[in-house]
């Protein structure tokens, strides 16, 4: 097999899929770092985001990229609401209680999606898109802007975390929660900010998955494991690590087809997750130990 073929059929789709995982993994890693629990409803929030986008697309006849900001804002609001109604009351309990609650939330969110939009596959735009040829590399426009948007969104987040007062407060809360409280940092505001960011990025992951494949009520749930694998691979609490992890998991899944039957593609994320936890639980970029 030639290099071009390898790139066209495995690496490029892997980078696109990895960018989508990265958007979700960044949210997972932030929730992990600040609230200290695994948020299992993350995938289904992405599904909700994708379908909110669909609602805008069908109602106003807008392209999905224009619907993206609406989906992001809507999902962020839902994430903040879920935290206020459910997770906030469990804050003092052992973390496993919240983890289990988030599994319940995942089922609830999915059911809401199924009640409103049904269980059939949907898509933003009908018809077949042909890839363009770039010196032998065959890339679709939507693949280019998926990767570009991921880079821009994560870049803006990094700027926020490193330059703004509240971004630094988030890092402080992740670094040393007790000292953050002693310094007078308002825990509730940091938690709310975390959900706004995680929810918005989650919706972006869902919308881009919908743009590149199709919309299904289980789409987010199936992304949950790869997103967790990406967050842990990169190092929990590391935004740049989550991106790196997402890309590695995405490319590994696509490449696995070369040696394994394609039904085992989803197993790749699981294998990566397992190996990382055994060999280097702090992740590639030295995140927190779980």
């Amino acid at each position: 097999m030639g290099t071009l073929e390898l790139l066209n059929y495995y690496v490029i789709p892997g980078i696109v899929l990895g960018s989508i995982y990265a958007l979700g993994a960044v949210g997972i890693t932030l929730v992990f770092a600040i609230l200290r629990y695994a948020h299992l409803a993350h995938g289904d929030l992405a599904t909700l985001g994708a379908f909110l986008g669909l609602a805008v697309v069908t109602a106003f006849g807008l392209p999905p990229l224009v619907a993206l900001p609406v989906a992001m804002i809507g999902t962020a609001a839902v994430a903040v609401g879920i935290d206020k109604v459910f997770y906030e009351h469990l804050r003092e309990r052992p973390k496993i209680v919240t983890v289990m609650a988030s599994l319940g939330i995942a089922l609830m969110v999915r059911s809401v999606v199924q009640v409103i939009w049904g269980v059939d596959s949907e898509s933003y735009v009908r018809g077949i898109v042909r890839p363009e040829d770039y010196f032998g590399l065959r890339i679709k426009d939507r693949e280019i802007y998926t990767v570009l948007f991921m880079i821009v969104l994560v870049g803006v987040l990094q700027l926020f975390l490193s330059k703004s007062k509240w971004g630094k407060a988030m890092r402080a809360m992740s670094d040393n929660p007790n000292l953050a409280l002693l310094s007078g940092i308002d825990n509730r505001k940091v938690v709310m900010l975390t959900w706004i960011i995680a929810g918005a990025l989650c919706a972006a992951a869902g919308v881009f998955l919908g743009i590149n494949t199709e919309l299904k009520s289980m789409m987010g749930w199936h992304m949950l494991l790869p997103m967790f694998a990406a967050a842990i691979l990169g190092g929990v609490g590391r935004v740049e690590g989550a991106v790196l992890g997402g890309l590695i998991v995405g490319i590994a899944e696509e490449m696995s087809v070369l040696v394994l039957p394609s039904e085992y593609k989803a197993g790749m994320a699981f294998a990566i997750l397992l190996i990382m936890l055994l060999v280097r639980p702090t992740g590639l970029l030295r995140g927190k130990v779980l």
Binding site: R171, A172, L181, S183, G184
Partner: protein, 235 residues
């Protein structure tokens, strides 16, 4: 003049068990006061009581005219008391400068005067302001921790064993910085494991044992006291 801080007959502890029994002490303006005593004497606990981290069941704590006995830490910080815990007292993955910025989180407006003041006290930190705090040595970390607490211009600084695990050279340096801080008008209450050295440098001291007051006096007097020497200072 009334004392800046006075604890009167404070009884309390964590949960339902009392650790402190009728502990009374005071700190005047521009004074360094040290609490010494054997392990488990309730030294740190007494300090945490001031900062609202304890269930105080009896007695009162008055700071600068306000009864702060039942206040939460956040409110106490805003009133002018800053606390440096013994461990985990810095943001490791943030730069020195960001640590100071987080210390001043509650402050609005221009922070440059506060930065200048802290960097003047700790010139070493100024040179390395972009360095991650977690990569510093123990002594420098302690300086970052104190600097963070000083960013809010407190009237009283609480230090929990600031010299724990430090070499004698750094210990002297930290004590010297404490004097410099005091000379800028900030009173200091600290808990110390190194009783001899601490009593020699502090203005006054309290000896606690089993959660009760045992002795109090100027550092020199306590050092000269035979009973104190035998009990806690290893003869």
């Amino acid at each position: 003049m009334t004392a800046l801080l006075s604890m009167s007959a404070v009884t309390g502890g964590y949960g339902d068990t009392d650790i402190l029994e009728n502990v009374s002490m005071h700190v005047d303006h521009n004074e360094i006061v040290v609490i010494v005593g054997p392990n488990g004497a309730g030294k740190s606990t007494a300090m945490k009581a001031v900062f609202g981290l304890l269930n105080v069941r009896g007695g009162s704590i008055v700071f600068d005219g306000d009864d702060i006995t039942k206040w939460v830490p956040n409110r106490i910080v805003q009133r002018g008391i800053c606390y440096v815990p013994q461990v985990d007292n810095i943001f490791r993955e943030m730069s020195i400068h960001e640590n100071l910025e987080m210390g001043a989180f509650l402050k609005t407006g221009d922070l440059s005067a506060s930065y200048d003041r802290v960097y003047e006290l700790f010139p070493d930190l100024k040179e390395r302001r972009k360095t991650l705090a977690g990569s510093l040595s123990g002594g420098q970390r302690q300086m970052v921790a104190m600097g963070r607490a000083l960013m809010l211009d407190p009237k009283l600084l609480l230090l929990d064993e600031p010299t724990a695990g430090l070499s004698p050279r750094y210990m002297e340096q930290i004590f010297q910085i404490c004097r410099d801080v005091r000379d800028t008008g900030v009173a200091i209450l600290l808990v110390e494991q190194h009783a001899k050295q601490a009593l020699a440098f502090a203005d006054r001291g309290y000896v606690l044992a089993s959660g009760q007051n045992r002795h109090e006096g100027s550092g020199a007097d306590l050092l000269a006291d035979r009973e104190v020497a035998e009990m806690f200072l290893g003869g």
